[in-house]
Amino acid sequence: MATLGFRTANKRYKRLFWPMMALYVALILTAKWLVDEDTTPLWIRAGFAVATTAPLVAAIWAILRQARETDEYTRARQMRALAEAGAIVACGAFLVGFLQIFAVIGTIEVFWFGPAYFIAFGLSYYRNCMGPTV
């Protein structure tokens, strides 16, 4: 495992994560302004969908790279938060899925599981900061 230490790993994380978030916001705003569901050609809509996903993939990669490169305690906390977030979102996905199958609720866009994962990750990470540690 290529551990670089807390400072270097943090610097490398910020150098990739924040520009990707800025690009993501810029792409979302551009798409909102340019794309019309009814009139915009399919290939342009598909292009925006892929282009908007790309910075998010890069941001997720930055998180995983930081976890790989940072100090052992921070890594343990991050991995725990990533795992807990995955478990929470999986439980949520099952619940929503069954509510839909049994016709209790209408359709919910799959997209929302993405932000839900990041929110769960953030909450889990900061809960671990305050409570018992690994």
Partner: protein, 71 residues
């Protein structure tokens, strides 16, 4: 695992952040080790021991004496 990291650090007048800087770990790591919430890996324990010019067993105590451990 018990340790005397806090005592060694304050002896030198370092804050947790300063010690974290010297070890290139987060301040939270230092706090977790000092409070016994986290046991460092062997490489980090060696780094800590080197920084303070002590042996690992002088800083960390697993609560077992040598005779008990040998049995």
């Amino acid at each position: 695992m018990k340790n005397i990291l806090r005592a060694l650090r304050t002896e030198r007048g370092w804050s947790q952040a300063e010690l974290a800087d010297r070890l290139d770990v987060s301040r939270q790591s230092v706090n977790a080790i000092e409070t016994g919430k986290y046991d460092p890996s062997l490489p980090l324990a060696f780094s800590i021991a080197r920084l303070f010019g002590r042996g690992i067993e002088d800083i960390f105590d697993d609560g077992l004496d040598t005779a008990t451990a040998a049995e």
